[in-house]
């Protein structure tokens, strides 16, 4: 799969390189939207708007404006002024019969100042209004904003011939989006060069630019800006897993997007094939969490020819903040399921802060019955070991000590472990933008968007870790399939090709996800990759120790 993005094509933002954009006294928020209002004039502009509203709020008030064209709406102050002076000059006309609509929109957005004593100049909706856009925009209005319908008179409409188009200020959100991305990168570069003052100013500017965006772009930018801010102010977040919310967040991610399901289904297929013919099997799961992967495997084992084997599961998990034995509870539920479908089941849980603390002896793999086939499963766990030198090598050695028939590894397909911060940042920005895009498309079919928000928080924690943390705190050290291949090869593992069955199950799974047209499964030399459009996002691979 070729990477669709090509970072080198994007020009460096020279204007933002060394200075914060100088507003020249103009209000920054409005400028992001294309208006030029001096910060000192803000109260004055608001007052004019209030006056206009009072006039137009009356019955047929808007009709008092004749067909004079008011130019240059981006200069709000003089624009409103010209309208006001026109209104002051016209006498109150007879509005009963022939009416004409000043603009063809059915509604205009105005502010009801009677409720607000304090005008918040940063409330963008209070300033940008329907009068400027000419088309009603139904995005959520707050209590302070009153919608006024154009005069509901049903008398004959004297339609004026269309004039030359009135100048309308349009927000080019695409352009604003590009500016946002450039500002993010510029901020990261400032952090890279340790210019914290500049970085700080840029981060604040990002906050303003984000307001002009919606959807996935805005969310990604918010998370990255937040992470940058944490790095700048040296407020490092704790490892996401230490909070008990983490498992709940991951469950929501499991439900919203196909990534975890893909991982489980493809890994299970490889394990199932490796277990063919065995009477006793043992799975060592480095990433037990809620155990969602295992019901499907147990069901497949129950239905295989010759009947199910005896199934032993060893689950490894982090210590819980509230000291509950979460692993045992999961084991208990799995046992219940196994019992109903008639699979002989045994569970052991191991609590470990890091996988490096585990080895074959602790897991007492050697006390297995003869003929027991072992599988090791690791989903999004191995990369956490890369923070400590020698960590992953030690774990790979201990895996070999377990003498597994198959080792299934699922990892994010990205390089977020580069030495240079800026490179990591840019990689992560592209990766998570793609992820958020894919989540947004699946949202269209699901009515409950709380899941989506939780999934985004789950990803947001990863973003925070990649950007804001360093050293052993930084655990989200994702590496690409190629890098993992090298690592596993040097550690003495040979690849096992995932078969066509796994590919079929994966494709079918994606076909079931509404909005799933964007998801792609690709086979890469025996490994399977799930991606969004042209960008691969996670990769499943299977291994066995070289004999």
């Amino acid at each position: 799969m070729k990477r669709g993005r090509d970072r080198k094509k994007e020009p460096k933002p020279k204007d933002l390189h060394h200075s914060v954009p100088d507003s020249g006294g103009m209000d920054e928020l409005l400028e992001a939207l294309g208006y030029k209002v001096k910060s000192t004039d803000m109260a004055d502009v608001a007052h004019k708007l209030e006056q206009l509203e009072m006039v137009m709020g009356e019955d047929g008030g808007v009709l008092q404006l004749s067909d004079t064209v008011h130019y240059n709406p981006s200069d709000l102050s003089s624009w409103y002024q010209s309208m006001l002076s026109e209104l002051n000059n016209t006498t109150a006309s007879d509005l009963s019969d022939s009416t004409h609509f000043a603009n063809n929109s059915s509604s205009t957005m105005m502010i009801d100042f009677s409720n607000n004593t304090q005008i918040d100049p940063y409330d963008l909706r209070a300033i940008a209004g329907g009068a400027i856009y000419g088309v009603a925009d139904d995005s959520g209005l707050e209590n302070g904003v009153k919608r006024m319908k154009g005069s509901g008179s049903e008398s004959v409409v004297d339609v004026q011939p269309p004039e030359s188009p009135r100048p309308v200020v349009l927000v080019d959100s695409q352009e604003a989006g590009i500016r946002l991305v450039h500002t993010l990168m510029a901020c990261a570069e400032a952090v890279q060069q340790n210019d914290m003052k500049l970085a700080d100013a840029l981060v604040k500017h990002i906050g303003i630019l984000v307001a002009s965006q919606t959807g996935a772009m805005a969310k990604v930018a918010t998370y990255f800006a937040g992470a940058l801010a944490q790095r700048i102010y040296k407020v490092y977040p704790k490892d996401g897993r230490e909070t008990s919310c983490w498992e709940i967040l991951q469950m929501h991610f499991y439900e919203t997007a196909p990534y975890l399901k893909f991982a489980h289904f493809t890994a299970n297929q490889a394990i199932l094939e490796a277990f063919a013919g065995a009477k006793r099997v043992h799975v060592i799961d480095f990433s037990l969490n809620q155990g969602m992967q295992w019901p499907a495997l147990m069901q497949a084992l129950a239905l295989r020819e010759g009947g199910p084997p005896a199934f032993r599961l060893t689950g490894i998990g982090p210590p819980q903040p509230d000291n509950t034995d979460a692993l045992q509870q999961v084991g208990w539920k799995l046992a219940q399921l196994a019992d109903t479908i008639g699979v002989e089941f045994e569970f052991r849980g191991f609590v470990a802060n890091s996988l490096a603390d585990i080895d074959a002896e602790i897991l007492s793999v050697d006390t297995r019955e003869p003929g027991e086939v072992v599988a090791v499963n690791s989903i999004f766990e191995l990369h956490r070991l890369l923070g400590r030198p020698g960590g992953v090598e030690k774990v790979l050695e201990s895996i070999k000590g377990m003498k597994p028939k198959i080792v299934t590894v699922v990892e994010q397909e990205a390089n977020h472990n580069g030495v240079v911060f800026l490179d990591r940042f840019n990689e992560a920005l592209h990766y998570y933008s793609t992820m958020f895009d894919s989540l947004e498309s699946s949202e269209l079919s699901q009515p409950n968007s709380q899941d989506l928000v939780m999934s985004e928080v789950y990803l947001g924690r990863q973003i925070c870790n990649v950007v804001a943390c360093e050293g052993t705190d930084r655990v989200e050290r994702h590496e690409t399939l190629t890098q993992w291949r090298n690592r596993l090869n040097s550690a003495g593992f040979a690849p096992v090709h995932l078969g066509s069955n796994a590919f079929k199950q994966a494709s079918m799974l994606l076909a079931l996800f509404a909005g799933g047209d964007g998801y792609r499964v690709e086979e890469n030399d025996g490994c399977l990759m799930l991606g969004w459009h042209t960008r691969p996002l996670i990769a499943t691979s299977a291994w066995q120790p070289e004999s």
């Binding site: 019901p295 497949a300 539920k333 109903t340 079919s445 079929k504 079918m508 076909a511 079931l512």
Partner: protein, 158 residues
């Protein structure tokens, strides 16, 4: 003569009032040809029909009748353990089949499709276990309340 004519008339009348409830095997034959929705509707007709439709074998037939090969032995006990064929149909088979029909460019093969149903079903059953029954054992409006299968539900137009 009139006697036999009377007899014939009486017999014809009896044929016109064909009491289907006296012919259970015929009723079941007919029900086996219905789709899921009609089957659920049929369950509402009367107590007798309800008790027949409640029987999982009708739903088992419904799940597998489109397939060319019969399901392997042993599937039944697993499906019954996980919640029964009616639940399997409503929660997995129907949404999967209809989604795939809309998307189908490639045929995945019958055994793969059956595997998919069963995998999703086992996940759903497990999630109900995890939820401690809080999600309710029932199937609401034909769709699972277990969240992991929510991606199969149709979006609601608000």
């Amino acid at each position: 003569m009139s006697h036999s004519i009377c007899d014939t008339i009486l017999k014809t009348n009896k044929h016109n009032n064909f009491p289907i409830n006296d012919h259970m095997d015929l009723l079941i034959e007919i029900l086996q040809r219905l789709d899921g929705r009609s089957l659920s509707t049929a369950a509402c007709v009367c107590k007798k029909w309800w008790s027949i439709v409640k029987n999982d074998s009708l739903w088992e037939h419904l799940c597998f009748r489109q397939l060319s090969m019969p399901p392997s032995v042993g599937i039944r006990s697993v499906v019954m353990a996980l919640g029964g064929y009616r639940r399997l149909y409503l929660v997995c088979v129907r949404p999967v089949v209809s989604r795939l029909k809309r998307r189908r460019r490639v045929s995945y093969g019958e055994s793969s499709e059956v595997e998919m149903w069963l995998s999703l079903f086992s996940v759903e059953c497990y999630e109900r276990l995890l939820g401690g029954g809080g999600g309710g054992g029932g199937v609401v409006a034909g769709e699972s309340t277990a969240k992991s299968l929510r991606f199969l539900c149709e979006g609601v137009n608000v």
